[in-house]
Symmetry: C2
Subunit: 334 residues, 2 copies
Amino acid sequence: MTDSQAILKGDRLALARLLTKVENDSPEGRAALIELFPHTGRAHLIGVTGAPGTGKSSLVNQLALHYRKTEDRRVAIVAVDPSSPFTGGAVLGDRVRMRDLSGDPNVFIRSMASRGSLGGLAQATANMVQIFDAAGFDIIMIETVGAGQSEVDIARLAHTTLVVEAPGLGDDIQAIKAGILEIADILVVNKADRPGVENTEKALKSMLELAHPTERVFKHHGTYMSVSVPKPTTNAKLWIPPIQRTISIEGTGIPELAESIAKHVEHLRQSGDWALRERTRLEVEVEALIRDSLMTRFHEDVSSKKYEEVLEKVVQRNISPWEAVKMLLNGRLK
Amino acid sequence: MTDSQAILKGDRLALARLLTKVENDSPEGRAALIELFPHTGRAHLIGVTGAPGTGKSSLVNQLALHYRKTEDRRVAIVAVDPSSPFTGGAVLGDRVRMRDLSGDPNVFIRSMASRGSLGGLAQATANMVQIFDAAGFDIIMIETVGAGQSEVDIARLAHTTLVVEAPGLGDDIQAIKAGILEIADILVVNKADRPGVENTEKALKSMLELAHPTERVFKHHGTYMSVSVPKPTTNAKLWIPPIQRTISIEGTGIPELAESIAKHVEHLRQSGDWALRERTRLEVEVEALIRDSLMTRFHEDVSSKKYEEVLEKVVQRNISPWEAVKMLLNGRLK
């Protein structure tokens, strides 16, 4: 019996083994992804993102407990830490999680540190999620740290994205979130027993309004400064992200949050957005694989001697990077 | 006279115009990059990264002032905010900067919000930097917010990378930095008049030691948890990152920081690392351009009808993404 077959039967050791193979992008991992793909598409993918200090991990923990206790759903957690590209800092929060969830055969937690490149990380996460999906986990939570592009890329994997805030993290941390708010389906104000919770909520509300500006604004502060604002994506949302208060450490607000999540799933199903997000996700994945394949073929085709020669010309400033690319691709792949 | 020629003569309006063209990846922008490339390779690129709240922008401001006043060097600042992928939050800190630097014709500040993809952002930043380099700016500071992969990618552009910390930002913010420490050439403890500065410095020192572990550690917490640690890069550094205290708001420690930066440049020149970093940077750029070109050609070659058909099969779970890629690339580019 292959690992793939074992996984479909619920073998956890085979699952752990295969996750490693998939993370390492090994041939067996790839074969399993192909074999298991027809069994995917059933899980609800929930992205959870937020700055350090918001209590994100404990929130994920509590949500998992809730889904176990009240709905008996199988839960997988993929904790991704893109902030640690070299040494692997993905062990944060693991201790907290273990206490309540360990020993439950219907919970599986996988921590993942960053790979060399961000594309690689998002791809590896997508692959992990597929394996969990095929293995019959009903809910897969993808937890990411921070508020950068990486989180956005990973959040794009999810059907429902929670953005976690907490009071008292400083003024400019609030400001920094303006961007990530737009990927939020649900806003969570965790640590809601802290002073300043009203202010955080108020700030979030006004930022939600700012997040979907009706007109494009150009600013030009003085003569020597120029600011460019990228075009907003034209993704008219009918869903207005609710703001949920929680105190994850004691479980307060978790049932209400789970209810919000259920409502969002309902909205996705009814509006057709579920299918749309599925399609987008798969398209992004196909594009990434094409990119990888084309690059692999390119490096197989072009001798490393020629490549080094052309690169040296760039280093010497004899030709520009653009001209180098023309030179390297010329006569190939019309 | 083309914009490129005007820029070489110091025309600031042409510079502003061209930066926009380059940021928008327009044909004129590309042509100018090719034309100007032989004039690049002279500037010192300084990356400045750190979490929100560390006073990074004001530090960059003060460093720029220092280079203007004491060394009469021309300074460009590229402020990148990858945390704001949609609405453009790159205006943070601009107000602070303007007060002291506006009106100085030898300072040019450009804020940049994130593009659609991270690759695009790093590429756009690299292109901006090339334009500033060709335009004769001696020092180009690339400021990024946060501690994610995007910052790492952008920091790879720089010759010298400063990682900025501040006391009192919370415990787990410290932990989160373990990864980014490895890209630091100089560590800055800003807001050094705050309580807790000794602790922050102590934490940084011990993390510096941890950041270059001699053995690879695997952890396995309990049965249902697996943690993977990526291989550390084998980049033996002779340079030990110094820790500099600053109070940027009042300029304290700035001359000492500038001295550290100068020492790092000396180290890069003497060790041959300067040439190595230049080469790596240009190689990354060439690779990115090849990737883009191959994808563009692919989408020109494959009809959107065929592409949609294959994608639909994936969405229907009839074929896996891997099989889709094989189908799309089959018979092409051997």
